[in-house]
Every structure is written in C-alpha cells, then in structure tokens.
C-alpha cells in the first residue's frame, strides 16, 4: 500500500495508508484502543467516547471521527485521556445491571473486559439503572434494556447492514433505550430474527433465547430418545469458546461431547443439506428448462425467508419451495427414525445445534408443526451448546473425537460448505453440472461463487445451458438484488441469499467474536472441512441415494414434495387495499396513487385528482378497437407502498414511480398506453 506520510503515535512514527480514520491507524500501530460503537463495516457513530486521544493542536478527540493527516502527533494515554476513559466506564457501570456471574455474556463482554483492562476498581457514582421490562417474547432473542450501553451497534447493524430497521433509539437523554417502535416486543415487529444485533452487541443486552434447560430436561427423561443434528457452521466456531482459534474444525469433539451429555444419536445437518441440493437443484433445472419462476431464490435461510415474506411478497413464487436443511432433517427424522431406532414417534426428540437464532423461530413456524408437535423440537445455538459442554466439565480440547451416527450422519463436502456464502450455489452447481453436461465433475471447487463481495454475479455455460447466478449475503444486499430483479431484465437464473455477512458462519447464534478476521477464518475452516471429506457432491452420497431408493423415490416426487417442500405467506403489513373512484372492474392499466399519511402530506391527493381529471379529459377510460366496451385506464387511491421517504409514490401497472409529480406520472401513463398498443377513444 502506498504510504502517504507518517503520524506520530505515542512517540512512534506510523505510516498512513488508506485508513478511514485515525483509530484504524492507531490500531495498526498495535495499540488496542477501547471502543464500543466502532465497527469498520458500519457507519461511524462517535458516541462511546472511549477511543479518545490527545492530538497536538486539536485537543482531546474521538479518533474514530478524525481523518488521519500525516504530521499529526497523537498521544493515546495521557493522564487526562486515561481519566476520561475511566470516568466514562464508571458512568456506564453505574447505569448497568451488573449481574455478571449469571449473565450469558460473562467472559465475553466488552464492558467487563474494558473495566478490567482500564483498572476501574470502584464505581463512585450512584447506581441509576432503571428496572425496565425485559423482552422475552420472541423465540429467538432476549432484549434486556437494563444492560444496554446504548452504543447503537445493533441499531446500525439492523438498519445499515440488514436494511430492516426493526430497532432504533426510543426516548431522549437518560431515558433513552433501544427497542422496536413503541417499545413493542421483537416478536411483534419486522424483526427477521437474523441475530446480527446479537452479534453486534458488546454486552448482554441482546442475547439468544436459551433452550438449554428444556434440552437437559428431555435428556434426563428416560422415555425420550434425543437425537441431535449439527449444522455445518457450528463445527468451525464452537471451539472458540474453549480457547481454540476461529475456523478450527472440532466436529469429532462435538459429537463426542454430545454423546457425553446424553444425546442418543448425533447426526449431521449436512446430510439434510445434501438432500436439499438434490431437491433444490432438481427444482431449479426444471424451472430453468421450462423458463418459469426465474430467478429461483434459495430458501435455506429463515431470516431471508421472513424478509422476503415481509418486503417482497411478489417474489415468493420465485423462492425455492424446498424446506431448509434443518427442517428437511426434522421431517425425515420424524418419519424414518422411529422405525430405525425402535422408538414411539412421540418419544423421539430432535434437537438441532445451529449457528443461528432465526432457526429457533423457523422450527416453530406453523408449516413445521403438526398436531402440536414440531418437526424440530429444540434449537440450540452454537453458544448454548458451548455452555452445556462447560457445565458438564468435559475437557473439550482433549476429548477423544467420535463419528456421527448413520444413516443421517453421513454427508458430502457439498453439504458442509452450505455454511458459507456461495456454498449453496456451489453445491447446486456441483449437481447441475453433471446433470446438464452429462459429464463427471472432477475439480469440485467452483471458486467463482466464493468470496466476500456483498453481491457476486457469475455467468457460466453448462452444456447448452447458459446460467447467470447471483450470490448475496446480508439482507441489505438481498434488498438490492431483489430490487434489481423487480426492475426487470436482471437475467438471473439462481440467486442465493444468506442473511448474515459471510453466511451461517457469522450467524447470530455463533459465539460473539472480537477477532477482526473471525469470518475469514471460519469460512476457510468450512472449505477445509470439505477437502477433508471423501465425497464432494451431494448426488454421490450413498445414504441419500438409499433414502430415495427405499423411501422417497425420485427427487421432486410426490412423497418428496410432501415431506421436503413447503410454502410461504405474504407478511406485508398493509394490504394493497384500494379506494375505488370509478366502477371499473378489469382495467387494462391500473394507476394507483398512495394516499397514506406520508404521501398525502407530500401532495398525493392533488396528484390523484389531477390524474383522474387527465384520464377523463383525454377520454382514456375506454378502449377503441376492441369489441364492445372495454375499460382501459382506471385511477385508484391506495395505501402504503412502504416507501414513505420517497413519496408521493404511485404505480402504473407494475411500474412504481417515486417522488411522483403530475408531469412524471402523465409521462409514465402515456408510455404504458403506447407500450400496450392501446388507443384512447378520441384518437
């Protein structure tokens, strides 16, 4: 990198390269500045005031908000700077519910860590915490405002990275809290339960909702046969809680630990991922050959599925109808294991170990609950399993590794890389390649779909078939690619979406990591795990073949459909309810103008009147050239397009116009009339 000059930090000259701010330069110099609110991938917030330093000529400044200029002289540990940092921490602690011994973030808490590091030995201020209600209503996330340090990381992660914005600051000053609108429960708002807020939270204010005790209960219940499924990403992160490096593979130890805990059988979600590949790739090839419902979106990620149901109901037919691997596993297990294990169906308990908190919500979706019994009974996050292991006292690092049980514990590498962004696409391609070319795929690494870019586009030709693939991770990028699809002509055939950055390896149920490279390390871990396996293509999995042969028949068979596929529902908050102005039943062109509050104040009502007048003045209501009387253009008032900041919003058929003016609307309408080859009566 090019050096632009030097900054003197505590007497040492440090080169300035392309750092965005002084904080990055200081950290590069090996000084671990304390921060709560700084995240390199989120916007600079500048609120925690811990990364302060004394800059010659500028005084005490928060270094996250300062552009590095060569020649600066910076001191990071003057008496004044130290005092301010310590008082800041003392102030935070005075306002914090200090129940560290029983807090699930104990030992992995930034506040605890910094208080120790900065030698805060007493809290001289009065305890001022308020006793605010804790939101435990969702199945995925517990929100405890009493522990919140108001760094806003969760707010920015939800808004900037995920484009959801389910939480924000409420109230002002000392009464400020973070929560959903009107302080509702996360369960009642648009939260998709991706858990990125949990990953961003430096303390225990947002934590996964634990099911540990319930799982212990079924393990101790002698009547129950408890089986576990372990998601791919768990095996490259669980070890972090036991002092292992991020990305270190600990599959065998996990199996052994689960057996020690008392699980009767331990299986691999990657088996179900192989099954997903068979179904989803078959579905895709069928759609591609028929040219319908393209692009096909993947449906493994429950956060993404809920996101699509909320914001893109019009794209729901494009989602693969395949259940996620967790749910496929649940269905298959509940269907075949009672016979194999000789257990009554009601006594078979399926527990999944997931890197994800949305999976907790997914397991309880009504589609996956039959007569009150869930296909997957309990979902533990990676972190929760870690705590169970700690409780047993097992030495995780030295425990003798064990193997998965068969048949649902056998998988190929294709089922393992599911945990990485691009993994599902790669696994599907390993299948589709052979299907479409009729040739055997030798080098199974399809590197084009790998990487860290938020949206990756890959075009390839398999046999005679040209394919365009999109890989998106984070929901902000998902929104971008969905908008691209809706704009038309994006040309995508298959789009993989993962809600979390990097995929499941950085899911909200994984141990919270402060290692800046943790994602890359875990990602590499999964690719290594693929390499370590014998087989790399789902279609080569002998147990999958056997399952089809003996039970399911063919991929996409009726039985497979019944067991392995699902459906979605629109969760759009506001229906496209319309107010009829004229009695038109089947107009060729619908002109809908939003008259919701926001659009109304921006002049939608006037626009609606102008358009209605324009249509009648120009006799656009009816069509000539058709037999009888047919209706051409109708103007209706409607409600929220959920683009309130861009109002007035209107649409002409499926073309949405933001910041609408009469001139622009008229132009769009005329264009649509021409495009459809229609003529008004007076022409």
């Amino acid at each position: 990198m090019e050096t632009k000059g030097y900054i003197t930090i505590d007497g040492t000259d440090v080169p300035v390269e392309n750092e965005n701010n002084l904080l990055e330069v200081i950290r590069k110099a090996g000084i671990e500045m304390p921060t709560f609110c700084y995240h390199s991938h989120l916007s600079v917030y500048g609120a925690c005031r811990l990364c302060i330093a004394d800059i010659d000529g500028m005084g005490i400044q928060a270094t996250c908000s300062i552009k590095p200029k060569p020649g600066m002289k910076v001191q990071t540990n003057t008496a004044e700077v130290r005092k301010i940092r310590k008082v800041n921490l003392e102030l935070l602690l005075a306002n914090h519910k200090i129940d560290c011994p029983s807090c699930s973030r104990s030992n992995n808490c930034k506040l605890q860590d910094l208080a120790r590091r900065l030698n805060v030995n007493e809290i001289r201020f009065k305890k001022t915490e308020m006793d605010m209600p804790v939101d435990r209503e969702s199945h995925s996330i517990i929100r405890d405002p009493n522990k919140c340090v108001l760094c806003g990381d969760c707010v920015r992660a939800c808004k900037e990275m995920q484009s959801v914005g389910a939480i924000d600051f409420i109230n002002r000053g000392a009464r400020t809290i973070v929560g959903p609108a009107f302080d509702k429960s996360l369960n009642d708002v648009e939260c998709v339960f991706c858990g990125q807020c949990v990953s961003a939270c430096p303390v225990g204010a947002l934590v996964p909702k634990s099911e540990v005790e319930a799982v212990w209960d079924v393990i101790h219940d002698e009547k129950k046969v408890v089986v576990a499924q372990i998601a791919p990403a768990v095996r490259v992160a669980l070890g972090e809680g036991f002092g292992m490096e991020a990305g270190a593979i600990s599959t065998g130890q996990i199996v052994a630990a689960l057996k020690h805990i008392g699980f009767n059988q331990v299986y691999d979600t990657s088996f179900a991922a192989d099954l997903t590949v068979m179904e989803e790739a078959t579905e895709f090839i069928s759609r591609k050959l028929k040219g319908e419902k393209l692009p096909q979106f993947t449906s493994c990620c429950p956060g993404w599925v809920k996101f699509a149901e909320q914001y893109y109901p019009q794209l729901l037919p494009n989602l693969s109808s395949c259940k996620s691997p967790q749910q496929m596993f649940g269905s298959v297990a509940k269907e075949i294991l009672p016979g194999i294990l000789g257990v009554k169906p009601e006594n078979l308990i399926v527990v999944s170990i997931m890197p994800c908190v949305a999976k907790k919500y997914e397991a309880r979706r009504e589609e996956f609950v039959h007569e009150g019994i869930q296909d997957v009974d309990y979902v533990l996050s990676t972190d929760e399993l870690g705590r169970m292991i700690h409780e047993t006292g097992i030495n995780f690092r030295t425990i003798k590794p064990e193997s998965f049980d068969l048949p649902l514990g056998f998988k190929t590498g294709a089922g393992v890389i599911f945990g990485n962004t691009g993994g599902v696409s790669e696994a599907v391609l390993r299948f589709a390649y052979e299907k479409l070319t009729g040739e055997t795929l030798i080098d199974t690494d399809i590197r084009q779909v790998r990487g860290e870019d938020g949206i990756r586009t890959v075009e390839m030709t398999l046999g005679k078939t040209k394919l365009k693939l999109g890989v998106a991770h984070t929901l902000g990028k998902a929104r971008q690619i969905c908008d691209e699809v809706l704009a038309g002509d994006s040309g995508y055939d298959l789009i993989e979406v993962m809600a979390c950055p990097g995929g499941c390896i950085a899911g909200g149920g994984q141990p919270v990591s402060f290692d800046p490279d943790f994602r890359q390390k875990r990602t590499q871990g999964l690719y290594n795990a693929d390499k370590q396996l014998e087989l790399h293509k789902s279609q080569d999995n002998p147990y999958i073949k056997e399952l089809y042969k003996s039970f399911l028949g063919e991929p996409a068979s009726e039985k497979a459909h019944h067991l392995l596929h699902t459906h979605y529902k629109s969760r759009k908050r506001i229906n496209d309810q319309v107010i009829n102005i004229r009695n038109t039943e089947h107009p060729k062109i619908e002109v809908y103008v939003c008259v919701g509050t926001n659009c109304y104040v921006r002049g939608a009502h006037k626009l609606l009147n102008q358009l209605a007048d324009y249509v009648s003045e120009n006799k656009l209501e009816d069509i000539v050239g058709f037999e009888g009387h047919e209706e051409m253009v109708d103007v209706k008032a409607t409600f929220c397009f959920e683009r309130c900041q861009k109002g007035p919003v209107m649409r002409v058929n499926d073309k949405i116009l933001e910041h609408a003016t009469f001139e622009k609307a008229k132009q769009l309408l005329d264009q649509e009339i021409r495009r459809m080859g229609l003529q008004s009566q007076n022409e």
Binding site: V44, Y45, G46, A47, C48, R49, L50, I52, G59, I60, A62, C64, S65, I66, K67, E80, K83, I84, V87, N88, L91, L92, A94, N95, R124, F125, K126, T128, V149, L150, G152, D168, F169, N171, R172, G173, A174, R175, T176, Q645
Partner: protein
C-alpha cells in the same frame, strides 16, 4: 393584493422595489396618526389582540376615518388613522404596548377599556394620557415616548431596528424601509466572492453561540463544488429565558428571508430551510406568510430579481428538542431522522443537509446581513470591540426591573445592561434593591455566571469565554442576593439532563450523575468528596462529549463552583443554605421568647409536628417537619424561625 400591484411585481427589480418603496412612503406619510399595537408573543399573552380590536372599534365609533391595511394604490391617505400590529417592541414587561406616531407617544400596560380614551384624546386631540405612560420605578419619573425611556434610549437597535415598527405581515412596509434592496444588490451587482468578502470584512460572527466568523463560513462553503447547496436558518431557540430569535422572526420576518437570500447568493445555493420550533406558532405563521408574499412578489422564486437565479425557502417545524439547535442534529431532523448530533468533521460546509454543502446560520446572524450589505462592512465595523463587531441582542430576564428584548453593541458592560437599561435589580418582593445584585447567568444552560467583579467587563465573545461563560444565543438572567447558586446550577443541569439527546456517553450519563451529586448537596447528603467528584465528572463531560451542547452542559455547574465555592462549602460542611432556598437544609424552630402558645401553628401543621401546651412556647419536631411553611404563615408573632 391589487391587480395593479401584481402587474408591477411581475418584473421585480431595483426599479420595482424603488417604486413600491416610494409610493408606500408617500402614502403612509400622508396619514395623520399611526397606531402600532405590539403583537409579539409577550404582548399577545397580555391581551394585545383585544386591545387592537378595541382600538379598531373605537376609531370606527369616533368617526375618524381609519384603515387597517394600507393599499399601495390608495393614495387618499390624508388625515386618516393607520392602525397596525407590529412584532415585539422589546419592552415585554410593560405590555401590551401601544405606540402612536408621529408623536412617538408610548403607552404601556394598555387595556381594551383604554381604547376609546386613547382615540379621543391622543389620536384626535393630541392629548397625552398620563396614567398610561411608563413610570421609571427607580425614580418615579414619567416618560412620554420610547426616546425618553432609558430602556430604549441606551440601546442601539440595529438588527431589531424595524422590529416593533413595521407590520410583519406587510411586505411593502418592509420594502418601504429599504427592505430587499440589499438582496437585489447582491444578486445583480455583486459576485459571490464579493458578498462573502463584505461579510468577512464586517467582522460578523455567529450569533447562535459559537461565534464563528460568518464570512469565513460562507467562503468555505462557496468554494466547495456541488450540484446543490442549501442555506439553513437556525431558529430553534431552545435556551430557557431566550427569545431573541423568536422576536425577530415574529417582528421582522422579511429581514430574515433577505439575509437567507444573500447567504444563498454568497454560496450559490438555490434552496433554504427555516427551522423553527413548533412552540413558536406565531413565528412559524409569520415566516410562512412572509415567504409566500416574497414568492408572490417575485422576490423569491425561479428568477430572483431577474438574475436568472433560483431561490426557494421552506419552513420546517422542529418538535422542540433543545438538541435540534445543534447544527448536525438540526439537519438530521430536517431529513426526517432522529435529531442527534453527528461527529464533525465533516462540517456542513462540505457535507451538510442531504449530504450537500450547507451554510447554517442563526436568525440574528442572518438578520444582520442585509444591513451590512446595504450599509457596508465599515458601517457595521464601527460598533463593537476589536474581535466582536456589531451589536448583540439579549433577552433580559430574571430579577431585573425592565425585562425584555434589548440590543447593545459588543463591549457594553454588565453594569450598563443591568442597572441602566434593565433599571436595576429587584428583590423577591419586586422592589428595586441597590445592593441586591448577585450574578447573571449568560448564555443559557451552555453559559456561565458573571458576578459583581465582572460588572465592568466589556461583554464580547472572547472576554466571556475567558470568564468561563459565553455569549451563547444571548439569554441574560439576572439573579438577586436571595438566589441560591446551587439551586441555579441544579436548574440548568436538570434542563440539560432532560434535553440531552442520549447519544454520547459522557453527556447522557455524566449529566445524570452531576444532577444526582447536586441533589446530594442540596439535600444535605454531600461531603467534600461529592464536590470533587462533581468537578471531575464535569470536566469529563466538558472534554469528551460529542457535540457543543454536551461540551458546554457542565458550564453552569463549573462556573458557579468557580465563583461561589464558599456557598457550596457552606451547603456541604455546614448543611446550611444562607439564602434559605434549599428546603432540606432549613432549620425550623420556634422562638420561645416570641411564642405565646396560641396554638395557631399547631392547628395548621399538616403532619402534627408541632406540640406544646396552650399559652406556653411550642416546639417543632424536625423529624416530622416537612418544611411546608404553614406554621410560619399562621404565626402572628413571627416566632417561627428559619423560613
């Protein structure tokens, strides 16, 4: 508006302005009397609108020919009476104010019942009604008109010049006072650089608190290349006790608009926002009307004075959060976001409203701009001190005889303001007390206090900073000897604590703890360590907060500690408040010498804390006493001590 006028205004240029001005002047010069009823918020609250209606009725009854609205093309004004409203005339304590021209007779505290008499005696017969004249409480002297009243006589009303004279809802009246000529000049005869240079040379500094040189701010924004730039007028005046900006927007809205136009010309912006808090409904209404009128007149719009340049202005109502007066929070609020400050840099000059280069100035700053462009930098320069040029408006409130809105050149001393313009300090009973002065709080919750030793300090930006205070937006609260400085500090701390946006840690948590520590002192639970901690956390909030409001939030506390340390020590060590404002520290006893045992106090006591036999001295149980003061009121012998 008449058709004739509409035609004239179609081509709005200098000649049109001159024509409007001259015709209006000759029309208004022909009237026999002009009655101006103050319709500032203070006078309205005191009933001035009813006075206006009563005067209107009285004129009609008396048969005098009256017109309320002066039409430009109505030349037959001779011997008629012109009745109009004005914005704030400044002398709020004496409202409703009625000013009669050309004889400059000023009536104070006018009631609707006085209307007929005013018309019959003063308007029709040139008789002065003595009872309605202002009487100086210090010496009992009567003053006939503004020019005789020391409150006005000692001021230098430049920015407030037309405020209180012109009808704020009549654009032609503003033009007749040479309004919009400066804007026309800047658009048609000056370059953007020349406009910036003029303001720079004038030495004008931001009147909102910071005191940054306005011309430099404009230059910085001017040189940034961008497809769009904005001008924002910050009218989110939130300091307790400050109402300068409100009065300007209510009293002379066109001046503010003209200032914004010149700022827009200087940086090549084509759009502006006036951000006004919604607690200022009259300011909102008058600014909106003024913008509409200026647009209709062809002053604002797509071809400003025929220059081919565009300028549009919108009014944005703020929801009343103090923090929205901070420029980055204000811009976030206009953008529809939560009003929270952002770290600077980037400064608004580079990346402001909607991420475009933006000049954001306070109302008073912008209102000074047309005067500078019209009269020249040197004219403005003659007022003030070496580093602080021009005049400054102050909202004079508290224990002072003449509360109201004043304007003085920088460099004026506190003594001049409090004793000569303000008429002296009053005790709690409302009497002038020559030795009553204790302190003034200047600059609101961000400012600090000045004491007797600062009486002869020339007030300007730098002198005040050196004293741990600041000009701020110009609130000036006078406190008498009966005020407890810890209570004063607590009042402001409570305000900033409530108004902290909650974003940055030191301000959010620090102000809360400072308030708790002050409460400990006031309630007698403090030790000297409390004060050390108070100073320590105050220093942290000052040094480490994100925005200017946070950085200055501890000022009232730090400044009272610096100036009145003994008073703090007295509270802490002796558990005593010598001004008797701190209830918890009161020592309530019954003087056995004076008590005759009438039992009146015991019967009134709501908590049965007083006991004693009839006709024998009573006593108070301090453990039960809630210090409500009922016994003190009930006692006819002044035997209850400590209140």
């Amino acid at each position: 508006m008449s058709e004739n006028l509409k035609t004239i205004m179609k081509t709005m240029n200098k000649a049109t302005l001159e024509k409007i001005r001259d015709e209006y002047k000759s029309a208004s010069g022909a009237v026999s009397k002009r009655i101006i009823v103050c319709a500032g918020t203070g006078c309205i609250a005191n009933g001035s609108l009813a006075v206006y209606d009563a005067l209107k009725e009285a004129v009609e009854k008396s048969g005098a020919s009256l017109f309320v609205e002066l039409e430009l093309d109505q030349h037959d004004c001779k011997d008629k009476v012109h009745l109009s409203n004005s914005g704030c005339q400044g002398f709020c304590a004496q409202g409703p104010l009625v000013n009669i021209l050309p004889d400059e007779t000023m009536y104070v505290k006018v009631k609707p019942e006085d209307a007929l008499e005013i018309i019959q005696k003063t308007v029709l017969n040139n008789e002065v009604i003595d009872r309605l004249l202002y009487v100086n409480p210090a010496n009992g002297e009567q003053s006939r008109g503004q020019l005789d009243i020391p409150f006005y006589k000692l001021q230098n009303r430049l920015v407030l010049g037309e405020c209180g004279h012109v009808d704020p809802e009549n654009i032609r009246e503003y033009i007749s006072h040479n309004g919009y000529f400066a804007a026309e000049k800047s658009y048609n005869t000056m370059t953007d650089e020349q406009v910036c240079d003029t303001i720079l040379e004038s030495g004008l500094r931001g009147r909102g608190g910071g005191g940054f040189p306005t011309g430099r701010k404009w230059h910085l924004t001017r040189v940034v290349e961008a497809d769009k730039k904005y001008v924002i007028c910050n009218g989110d005046e939130g300091d307790p006790g400050a109402f300068m900006d409100r009065s300007l927007m209510e009293g002379n809205p066109h001046r503010v608009i003209e200032g914004m136009m010149i700022a827009a010309r200087a940086i090549n912006a084509d759009e502006g926002y006036v951000y006004v808090r919604l607690e200022y409904p009259l300011a909102v209404k008058r600014m909106r009307k003024a913008i509409e009128d200026a647009l209709e007149a062809g002053i604002l719009g797509d071809n400003v004075f025929g220059s081919g340049r565009t300028m549009h202005i919108h009014v944005m109502e703020g929801a009343g959060a103090f923090v929205c007066g901070e420029e980055t929070a204000l811009m976030a609020s206009i953008e529809g976001k939560r009003g929270m400050p952002m770290p600077k840099p980037p400064f608004p000059a580079e990346c402001g409203l909607f991420e475009k280069p933006t000049v954001i100035n306070n109302v008073e700053t912008l209102a000074a701009v047309p005067l500078i462009v019209r009269n020249g930098a040197a004219w403005f320069n003659q007022y003030g001190t070496a580093t602080s040029k021009g005049t400054k408006t102050f909202a004079l409130t508290g224990h002072v005889a003449n509360t109201g809105l004043i304007e003085v050149p920088f460099g004026t001393t506190l003594r001049e303001i409090v004793f000569n313009i303000g008429g002296g300090v009053m005790d709690n009973d409302g009497k002038i007390s020559s030795k009553g002065f204790k302190a003034v709080q200047i600059g609101g919750p961000s400012g600090g206090c000045l004491t007797v030793e600062d009486m002869d300090l020339p007030l300007d930006y730098d002198n005040l900073i050196a004293k741990g205070a600041m000009v701020g937006s110009g609130g000036l609260v006078v406190m008498n000897q009966e005020s407890c400085m810890i209570q004063i500090a607590r009042f402001f701390m409570n305000f900033t604590q409530n108004e902290s946006c909650g974003k940055c840690l030191p301000c959010r948590e620090g102000t809360k703890q400072m308030l708790a520590l002050l409460d400990d002192i006031i309630e007698g639970n403090a030790t000297m360590k409390t004060m050390d901690l108070l100073e320590e956390v105050g220093h942290v909030v000052k040094k480490a907060s994100l925005c200017g409001l946070g950085k200055t939030a501890p000022s009232p506390v730090l400044s009272t500690i610096a100036k009145f340390r003994e008073e703090y020590v007295e509270h802490i060590e002796r558990k005593h408040c010598s001004t008797n404002n701190c209830k918890a520290l009161m020592d309530i006893t019954i003087d056995a010498e004076k008590c005759i045992g009438c039992t009146a106090c015991a019967r009134k006591c709501p908590v049965n804390a007083i006991s004693g036999e009839k006709k024998k001295p009573h006593s108070i149980d301090p453990a039960l006493c809630i210090k409500c003061g009922e016994c003190h009121k009930a006692c006819k012998f002044n035997a209850v001590m400590g209140f």
